[in-house]
Each structure stands twice: as C-alpha cells, then as structure tokens.
C-alpha cells in the first residue's frame, strides 16, 4: 500500500481521537451529571413537544440533491481528463466540450421545467 494513504489513514484515526478526548473528559469527568426528565426533554418553544419528529419535507430537497448527483458524476469524469490534459489532442477537447454541453442541456431542461424553483 502506498505510503501517502497510510498517512491519510493514521490522520483520520488521530483526527477522531483529538476531538473525542475533550468530549470524553467533559462528559465523564468534569461535567456535572444531574439529569431529570424535563432537562432531557427535546427543545421546543416552551411547551411540550407534540407528536413524533416527523416533518413533511418538500420534494424540492430531493430534486436539488438529484441535480447535484448528476453534476458530481460529471465532474468525476473531468478530473482525470484535466490531469491528462497535456497529452490529449484538440479533438479530445471538443469531445469534452460536447460532454459538458449535453449536461448543460440537462440543467437547462431542469430550469425550464421549473424544477430549480424553491417555492
């Protein structure tokens, strides 16, 4: 396994230890532990919470995530191309422009269709 990734792996592990330690010190050693049902109840504007934690979400949230996923995948294709940019021909550049234009068409369709409106 390459060395750089070993470093990243150690970094992720240590990155979890560093913020974890103060949290543990706080909750196990220094912090007071005086629970009562009212303190532990979920926050509301002063009255008791009614019903379960379920809010009817707009389908809009999903649409935005969807358009994002499509553009994310597109960019994944472009990153290796950017690295290989020196070796590719002008024809290849036109191919990539075509690739981007097809997806820009998708964005334009979503826009016209009103899928990008919040309200």
């Amino acid at each position: 396994m390459p060395n750089e990734w070993l470093f990243i792996g150690i970094f992720l592990l240590m990155g979890a230890v560093f913020p974890g330690a103060p949290i543990l010190i706080n909750s196990l050693i220094l912090g007071p532990k005086k629970n009562n049902p009212v303190k532990n109840s979920t926050y509301e504007c002063g009255i008791e919470t009614v019903g379960d934690t379920w809010v009817q979400f707009k389908v809009q949230y999903y649409i935005f995530a969807l358009v994002f996923v499509v553009f994310d995948v597109e960019t994944i294709f472009l990153f290796p191309f950017a690295v290989a940019y020196n070796q590719v021909s002008f024809f290849a550049v036109l191919e990539v422009v075509f690739f981007i234009l097809i997806l820009a068409g998708g964005l334009f369709y979503a826009w016209r269709k009103g899928a990008l409106e919040w309200a």
Partner: protein, 102 residues
C-alpha cells in the same frame, strides 16, 4: 501478499448479502440499498482484476467508473419512482405496488 482469491470471495459474499437484501426486504428504499451493495461487489471484482491481471490497461478502472455512473443514475431514477409512488399511494412497501398484477 493478499492473493486475488481473497478479494473474489469477499466480493461474492458482499454480492450475496446484497441479493438477500433485494429479495427479502419489504421497503423499496431498502431494496435499492441492496442493489447498491451488489454494484459495490462488482466494483471490488473489477478493481481487483485490474490490479492483479494487467494494471497497464485501464479497462478495469474505466468500467468501475461507468458502474458508478450507472449506480448514480439508477439511484436517482429509482428513488424518484419510489417518492412518486409514495405520494400517490402513501406506501413504500414493494408488495403493495401491484397495479400491474391481475
């Protein structure tokens, strides 16, 4: 060194777990998650064959990226279908979607 067969066995196991999820789960979203597991198993296979057999040819990685694209498209359309059905029939249970049955 890790031999190729270890990766293949792992991918086979992951695929079977995903298959179980697809066949046994009631919730349509959970079925979709099972499909994602199966696609990941395929990706493990592709990348390990690339690594062990001929790393000079990038076909394995190339295929993996195409599989990722398909997975993303499939998740997008599949979940859109599930949301649409939920809004019409108020259910995400796969067995309830039986309009085409007679």
């Amino acid at each position: 060194m890790v031999p190729l067969s270890w990766y293949l066995v792992l991918a086979a196991a992951l695929f079977c777990v995903g298959l179980y999820g697809v066949l046994a789960r009631k919730n349509a979203v959970a079925i979709l998650m099972g499909i994602e597991l199966m696609l990941n198993a395929v990706n493990i296979n592709l990348v390990s064959f690339w690594h062990y057999l001929n790393p000079q040819v990038m076909a394995g990685q190339m295929f993996t990226i195409i599989v990722l694209t398909v997975a993303a498209s499939e998740a997008a359309v599949g979940l859109a279908l599930i949301i649409s059905i939920y809004r019409r029939r108020n259910s995400v249970i796969a067995e309830d979607m039986d309009l085409m049955k007679w």
